[in-house]
């Protein structure tokens, strides 16, 4: 039985990791190795030139744009999300309705908000700007941050906050001096997830980007949609785009379920 269990698990591991092997191998192939039948499974020589080449063709700009936008989106989500989460968790402001409304934003088909936002952004000149993309990412990142942090704050013992209140601390002091440090793990989880969600997004990115702002997923899509498909360079760019997600999966294993379900499953 053990053999069967481990055998099937290994088969699943191979199945889920095979595409990564394939793009890693592809990113190291030289030009001639892409169009052979049968395909080349292991490149004869490791050709690293696809990496600098893809960075030179726009992936470096994509990398920096993605980083700046994801970082700013994370900062805004935490700055606005933490106070809101505290108020909802401890003061029941807006009761169930407000919490449910915030949750339901996650269910929206993005296209429903993208379309009108695009018209509005074009009118005020926010298309193809960092601000436009950062703003539009709050549509999904802010509700996420509020829900995750609400869960973490609800798990904190109330006694410390109550003792501080008896000692005469003002509500905002309690929030800043007690709740924020105690909820630090929650803040880290919220920060990393909001960063990754923005980093991985394509739907908003492809519509709100332009010639000035090109997040990495858009660069990859442009590479892949061109007349001449640069298999090696695209694979190299894709591997660069995966790296932050790998960091997330490794460091946050304990909190992955919680993060991926918006805190619904702890």
């Amino acid at each position: 039985m053990d053999v069967l269990k481990w055998g099937s698990l290994m088969a699943f591991v191979v199945l889920f990791l095979f595409p990564f092997f394939w793009i890693v191998a592809s990113s190291l192939k030289s030009r001639g190795e892409f169009f052979t039948r049968p395909p080349v499974w292991f490149p004869a020589h490791l050709d690293w030139s696809n990496y600098p080449d893809s960075l030179g063709r726009g992936a470096l700009k994509g990398l920096t744009d993605s980083f700046v936008i994801a970082f700013l989106s994370m900062v805004i989500s935490l700055l606005l999300g933490a106070p809101a989460a505290y108020a909802i968790a401890r003061f029941q402001v807006g009761r169930e309705n407000l919490a449910f409304w915030i949750l339901s934003i996650r269910m929206f088909p993005p296209i429903a908000t993208i379309l009108p936002l695009f018209v509005i952004f074009r009118f005020v000149g926010l298309v193809d700007s960092y601000t436009g993309l950062v703003l539009s990412y709050t549509v999904f990142n802010l509700p996420f941050a509020i829900w995750i942090l609400k869960g973490f704050i609800e798990d904190l013992p109330r006694e410390i906050e109550e003792a501080a209140k008896v000692d005469g601390a003002r509500p905002f002091q309690i929030f800043r001096m007690i709740v924020i440090p105690l909820a630090a793990p929650g803040l880290v989880v919220a920060a990393l997830f909001t960063f990754i969600f923005a980093w991985n997004d394509f739907a908003y990115a492809v519509i709100f980007s332009g010639s000035k702002v090109t997040p990495l997923p858009v660069v990859i899509a442009q590479f892949a949609g061109g007349h001449e498909i640069l298999w090696g360079q695209i694979s190299a760019a894709a591997i660069i785009a995966i790296l932050p997600a790998l960091v997330l999966a490794t460091f946050l294993q304990k909190y992955l379920t919680r993060g991926l379900t918006m805190g619904a499953v702890k």
């Binding site: 699943f12 429903a112 394509f202 997923p217 379920t257």
Partner: protein, 292 residues
């Protein structure tokens, strides 16, 4: 009870977040709702006017391309949810039954679910490439002539389904594993002592116990499958023909390729209504199961 001062403090704390969310969701949606009742089309010679429910009626009664996209999307949601839940359960129960190495195996399997869909789509493009891809190479070595996958009307949607299932089955496995691990052991033991085993154990003990948590995963997956856009964009652009066009992709085409925002707005509202009804029905179903 909260004092007045505390109430005001709480309101002040949620105000920035609620204000911003209002600006980026409710306000655009209201604007879009208004536009959906007009004939607004960029570059059209016709003057702008209200046309009531015309866009909605056209979509639901006349537009075959829309109805086909709707049907295709529902198919994708149904097939995706079933396949990912069943496979996710198989993986989760295998992981649940091993005593060592669970964490490392789970980390490895989970990588697809944390990467960008654009990367998953790019991987699909390479894997499914009919002439130079590894999938048809493997099939050929087994003596099977593989289909054209992305380039064939018969298999384009299937390729999208396979890519999505590859990417998100690990996510459901993660959730179902969490559900399995949180089963109260006394109930499981009591059922075993009462003679439950095999199918009866699964159907009458395991399923009810893991359903509330698993249900959340299924709901999130269903909602996201209904919004499938990135994979269509990268893998097929809706083609060949319109054979793999989903609702959100068709909405994108109407809005950003045909510059027809009024029609696209009506379409996105129909999607919003469908998602809301489906999600609420599903949640009610889960709640009823839990109380039985």
């Amino acid at each position: 009870m909260l004092g007045k001062q505390e109430k005001n403090f709480a309101r002040l704390m949620v105000l920035p977040a609620v204000g911003l969310l209002f600006l980026v969701t409710i306000a655009p949606l209201l604007f879009s709702l208004g536009v959906s009742f007009t004939n607004l089309q960029f570059g059209s010679p016709q003057p702008l006017r209200w046309n009531g429910l015309d866009n909605y009626l056209n979509l639901l009664t006349k537009d075959a391309r829309f109805l086909n996209a709707l049907w295709r999307t529902l198919l994708l949601v149904g097939a995706g949810v079933v396949a990912q839940t069943v496979l996710g359960y198989v993986i989760a129960s295998l992981l649940f039954r091993i005593s060592r190495g669970r964490t490392i195996l789970l980390s490895a399997i989970l990588i697809p679910s944390v990467i960008s869909q654009v990367v998953a789509g790019w991987q699909g493009r390479m894997i499914f490439n009919a002439s130079y891809g590894p999938l048809n190479d493997i099939l050929a070595r087994c003596g099977i002539k593989g289909p054209a996958w992305l380039a064939s009307q018969q298999t384009a949607l299937t390729s999208i389904f396979l890519t999505d299932t590859w990417q998100w089955t690990p996510f459901l496995a993660l959730i179902i594993l969490a559900a399995l691990q949180s089963q109260p052991q006394d109930i499981v033991e009591a059922a075993r002592l009462d003679g439950a085993h095999g199918w009866s154990m699964f159907r009458f003990v395991t399923v009810p116990l893991i359903l509330p948590v698993t249900g959340i995963g299924i709901l999130l997956r269903g909602v996201d499958l209904f919004k499938t856009f990135d994979l269509v964009f990268i893998l097929t652009q809706g083609g060949p023909g319109n054979s793999s066009e989903t609702l959100t992709f068709f909405t994108y085409v109407q809005g950003f390729k045909f510059f027809n925002p009024s029609y696209a707005s009506a379409m996105s509202f129909i999607q919003l209504i469908l998602v809301t009804i489906a999600a609420k029905t599903f949640l009610a179903f889960i709640r009823r199961q839990r109380s039985v």
